[in-house]
Symmetry: D2
Subunit: 301 residues, 4 copies
């Protein structure tokens, strides 16, 4: 904990306006907060790589096989991937998959065009021109298609176990974690948040989630992208602002989100290496025009 005689950043009076980056990088921008990843940030990311140890931030996906046998089971687990094994006619195996790009059982990267605000998509284009039956024409997955490479910092809020139900994560939690871990979130960094909860809803149990205060802190710090095992609370923390992370961070700050991450492996590696910062490589399949895309982010130490 910091000394109590000085107010922490989060104890300062809350600014009344919501954080907003529309227009900050021009009218044609498709990168949003990824503009904060400068050469200097990438150099500091490179400096984190010293051992070659790494962890995946993605949850494993068990596809749902589209088998046609009359003796298939009568129910299946919902999966983001429907899998079809192909008849190839030769001794080579091939397949197809039907992917639901936004799904709670899939670690995925939200494109900026996933969200809209008063009928517009970032940074102010009419939604009807951007989100079309033929795909997304601006701020789609194409913006990240060559990959995102930056410094990442894990703030492990679940170091003593999962956060309590309905817990509102605030900037104070972030700053305590920085202090405890000896890590600092700097401009251009990827912020990785572990709440210790599964990405799928738990019937009857309110989940913890990210508060608006926490999102304001991300804005002040200059976070470029945020990955979390659980993001917006369900049910919402505050009726008036149901989704600080998607509605404000993605929708107004133009900060790409990595939803439904799985962070136990990363947390264990950080404990082992006594280090919470790393090179983060976010490289989804290089497919253009999507609203979101499955991704397997890799933290390298």
């Amino acid at each position: 904990m910091p000394e109590p005689t000085e107010p922490t950043e989060s104890e300062l009076p809350v600014e009344p306006e919501l954080p907003d980056n529309w227009g900050r990088w021009g009218d044609d921008d498709e990168l949003g907060t990824l503009n904060l990843v400068t050469d200097a940030v990438r150099a500091s990311a490179a400096a984190e790589v010293r051992t070659g140890r790494w962890a995946s931030l993605a949850q494993p996906i068990a596809p749902n096989p589209m088998i046609s046998s009359p003796f298939a089971p009568t129910t299946v687990d919902v999966s983001p991937v429907q899998h079809m094994m192909a008849h190839t006619g030769v001794a080579v195996a091939a397949d197809w998959m039907l992917v639901t790009n936004h799904h709670a059982k899939s670690t995925h990267l939200d494109a900026l065009a996933h969200w809209s605000r008063d009928g517009d998509v970032y940074p102010g284009r009419p939604r009807g021109e951007v989100v079309t039956p033929a795909g997304v024409t601006h701020a789609s997955s194409a913006s990240f298609a060559a990959g995102i490479v930056t410094r990442g910092v894990l703030l492990d809020l679940a170091h003593q176990g999962p956060l309590p139900p309905a817990y509102a994560v605030t900037s104070r939690d972030f700053e305590e974690a920085e202090e405890r871990q000896g890590a600092e979130v700097r401009s251009g960094d990827a912020l990785v948040l572990r709440l210790g909860w599964p990405s799928t809803p738990v019937p009857g149990t309110p989940t913890p989630g990210i508060s608006l205060d926490a999102v304001r802190w991300m804005h002040r710090r200059g976070v470029s992208v945020c990955a979390a095992d659980r993001g917006d609370a369900h049910p919402p923390l505050e009726p008036g602002e149901p989704s600080p992370l998607h509605g404000v961070a993605l929708g107004r700050m133009a900060m790409p989100l990595i939803d439904a991450a799985e962070l136990d492996d990363l947390a264990a590696l950080c404990v082992e290496l006594r280090r919470y910062s790393f090179l983060l490589t976010v490289a989804p399949p290089r497919i253009h025009g999507l609203t979101g895309v499955p991704v397997n982010p890799i933290a390298t130490f």
Copy 2:
């Protein structure tokens, strides 16, 4: 060039047996040559990261929109991805995609179970038990699902332009490139090969390709994974062995392949940085049970 008084490695008498790793790492192995990526290899990979500069080795994919308008065009470009924009009923955009996992217009990672040999899949399991209507049960994409992190070396065989049609790439080309570039392919490395050709066939023009001699060299050197813009020649270089890379390297050496890479960006960056070795991060979506999966490999310098 090495001194001519000493024969190069490729001038040694060719061993009669095909390279073979079945059984080398036990009867339950699912990693194949990825076993060669030791901690020491990863440490040397880490040592390559100094600037934070990076390049994607994946070609961009323009999905084919599954629009239903009566006034759609009457033909479409073939694409590995069929894209469907979803009706969400709210101001959030979402979508699905139907992915052909093995496709010449998609940079993808072949699982070991993609190939089989005399009815068996690596390292000797009956194909019918491994390749099933419900998915692949052994040596599938699950083997790489947490990502592959190793040292990569680009051998740019097209530094003076695309290789000639029907050119057979041999170990001599590799060793000349090592000499020219000042790079060395070591055990556990990922080998990245640029022939300067598109991954799609060129009607009426025979493509260059990797010879069996070149594959033997990979075996001797201990390559862990191979990425190329073009691999096996079409039509085959030798009638008797139609596909050295898929039939021998993948099928017998159990070396995962990254097919249909796009390497111009990487080659330009290597020229700029005067360095052909890097950290290679291969992290496809973490989906189990597939025969292959789209991937966006990232080289970080």
Copy 3:
């Protein structure tokens, strides 16, 4: 032709209001004009069946194979069906298909919920409650799922060749065809219209189409369902009312439409049998919750 001293039905002054059946069969109705198919209509349909000769009103669909070979063609014809042959592991062949339900190359039946009007779906439910991400909850394909069986009448407007480009089909054309053919469209009948044009657009050529006057005639006559090789003109006949068939007949009269029919076989059979009325069986796959569904209507004589 009727006697010229009496005005034909179509020469009467045009009523100013658009035809409208919302509310006519109650607030919960899902059948629309199919309510006009009474037992008496079906008995008259049955009376048409005397020989067992029949014709399909559907165009053949050549699926687009989702083959994954690197040597596939680089473009394909657009098709409403993407076809995937399955790996079954046994000597039984099976497959999947991905179907675009509304497509110009597929003869399909539009559900009433396909259209909406001022935010409502027939007969006055909020669109957001009816058209949901989980499917259509009212007036979907479920309304026709047990099949439609009624008397059908072909009016062959193309008996002397395709209609001219941009031709506006009116009630006069219908009445002349009735007179010429010795057929009469009665309440509850299915109306089958042959304009002699393909269902796909012809670049640079305006197509003929159904006028609002023709739709009013269908309303007066009590047509229950309409099938045509070409329906609404492209470009529209009148700027103010771009789609009389879909906007008025489907959207206001709640008359299901069979789009993109192929009627050459039917027309030839009518000529051979010298009869233009028949039993029409419209039985799409019995799948609920769709906005439209491929169908193979059968005319039996």
Copy 4:
């Protein structure tokens, strides 16, 4: 029951050979037993149509919605149809569906190429030439694409309730039903069989099924197509011949099968009308190249 002094047809000595129609209609035939549907058969079918009453023989299909909400249910019922509502950008609703063509919850028509025998497909073509990654090239769904129109007869074996578990349906059951119902199955007829069981398996309970004796009877009578609520028993009735209906009737007699029919509505209508014969219209979507296709057969009286 017939008089016991005369042996029924099924009491005659069983011929040793399996019924076989390969070659009966030439080397290029794609119709199989549909060749038995002559003009005379169709005329007799037409004569059955007197009232316009009808029944569907298809079970309703509830699609599985491919919703992407994080709050989707965690399991779903297995369905032959995966449904995707499309973003159209306008007030028109459209959708796609991914269909498993052979599925126990879908009434579907098996193409002759669904089965093979010693590596060949009817009437003797190498399977590898017929069943290809690009679809089926012979005896596919294209054979029935214009629809099947013939006389149908329901034999209601479940008139007193579902058949017992593991019951072997024989020709005696058929002849007793003919006698009881006053109906006769004649050459070219469609045979509709109601066993009173659901098409989906019942865990732990052996189902009834069609015996080889019953299939021989179909061959002698000249049945052209067979529809049943349940066909081959599970587990098999006899270990040596696991599937008389699929292996012999479809595979050797080249008789198309309608699997997984739902016949309660038809049975009730037959009781009401005191008539078990009707016009049967089998008109799946007119899609070529499939191994099977969903269908909604309609019986018209």
